[in-house]
Amino acid sequence: MSEMLTNEPVQSSEQTMRGLFLAVLKRDLLLSYRRRSDLVNPLIFFLMVATLFPLGVSPEPDFLAQLAPGVVWVAALLSTLLSMDSVFRSDFEDGTLEQTLLSPQPLFVVVLGKVIAHWMLTGLPLALLAPVLGIMLFLPDGGMGGLMISLLLGTPTLSLVGAIGAALTVGLRKGGVLISLLVLPLYIPVLIFGTSAVQAAVTGLPLGGYLALLGAMLALGIVMAPLAIGAALRISVSG
């Protein structure tokens, strides 16, 4: 039996936690890099939603400028939502999720790594691309900064909350649209504070308050969501 027990309790010190976190992050980024198209696609979707509005509503600059904060935020929200379903699904289908749940590593860390990888591939580029959308929708220049900062603070929350929905629906044969149903109501506060921040920036009002609220939601999300996600995953797999 002596040989067997190389599998001894490894002290799960902070360092190994960080190592695990980085391993998860690296793997998920690698996965996306492999199917390269996944990297740019949320962005292109984001761009296209923004193009649909002038086409569907009205191409007048003044009218569009009024719409802009809302449309950009709704587009960001939808494109996060759409990419959400795949966060755990492929892992579930090929059995890697099962293996993750069976591993002795803290699920909290694994899950957090996955969500942050997801954000780095959707929310972050969306925030960086937002000014282009702003130009296309004639957002006044003063609003650009507010738009980017509010997206940077808001999209991680969207990823965290969305992942809870993804974890709950991963065991179902078709989670695709159910997830929107679960998650959209939770997204609404983020949407409201996000657009309010941009509108405040456009009109020159202070936007610190909104950003603080977005930050608070993010902090809450980072602490609570991974626990909820982990629990949801265990439930989904055991079904």
Partner: protein, 212 residues
């Protein structure tokens, strides 16, 4: 008799209004190979998922080294290697990357052994090919390479020989025998005829449920 690793008491499971097994009692000790037998649909996979802690749809008690399994879940997970119906191989990663990930999840595994293990399962030269470009059997082999990497005392294997060719099956049987000799325990299901002689203890679910 050596220390019992796993002790199953009065296990009862019903699926879809059909009782799969009831009052199932058995003990797995060190060095034992236990084969769960039964025809298709007799509940083998269900039992293994219960033992591995993946499914909670059961009644009864399971003890790990004498403790209720829920109380020592962490220790149990560290001591377990589970191989399910799904191989747990990511199609767009290469075999090497897949095993790296497994190693990250199971810190006791040394990265240097990964290439060794891949060679052992006959995937030398395929380390860098994305798994979706491998054949069905090669994909299962990637997952089986974990058997060469693991130091876990308890292996739970659900049909490990599916899609594996004859030479591969023989190698894996030898590996299982070696693991048992070194004091490990194996619980497995397979529809292949195991050529391991007396070492294997059989538990037949058909007889238990009286379905056959």
């Amino acid at each position: 008799m050596s220390e019992p690793l796993l002790n199953v008491k009065q296990l009862f499971c019903e699926r879809d209004d059909r009782i799969l097994f009831e009052d199932l009692n058995f003990v797995v000790t060190q060095g034992e190979v236990v084969q769960i037998e039964g025809q298709n649909g007799s509940g083998k996979t269900t039992l293994l998922r219960i033992l591995g802690g993946l499914s909670r749809n059961f009644e009864g008690d399971i003890y790990w080294k004498g403790e209720p399994i829920d109380d020592v879940a962490d220790d149990f997970r560290r001591s377990l290697l589970y191989f399910g119906h799904q191989p747990g191989v990511k199609a767009i990663l290469t075999p090497e990357e897949n095993l790296n990930w497994y190693a990250a999840m199971h810190p006791a595994i040394v990265h240097e052994q990964i290439f060794d293990a891949l060679e052992q399962v006959g995937l030398k030269g395929y380390e860098d090919v994305p798994c979706h470009m491998l054949s069905a059997g090669q994909n299962r082999r990637v997952s089986l390479a974990r058997l060469y990497l693991s130091h876990a005392p308890l292996w739970i294997l659900d049909e490990p020989f599916t899609a594996i060719d004859k030479r591969g099956v023989a190698a894996k049987e030898a590996l299982i025998a070696r693991h048992a000799e070194r004091g490990g325990s194996v619980i497995l299901t397979t529809h292949h005829e195991l050529k391991m002689g007396d070492r294997v203890r059989r538990i037949n679910l058909d007889e238990l449920a009286g379905t056959s």
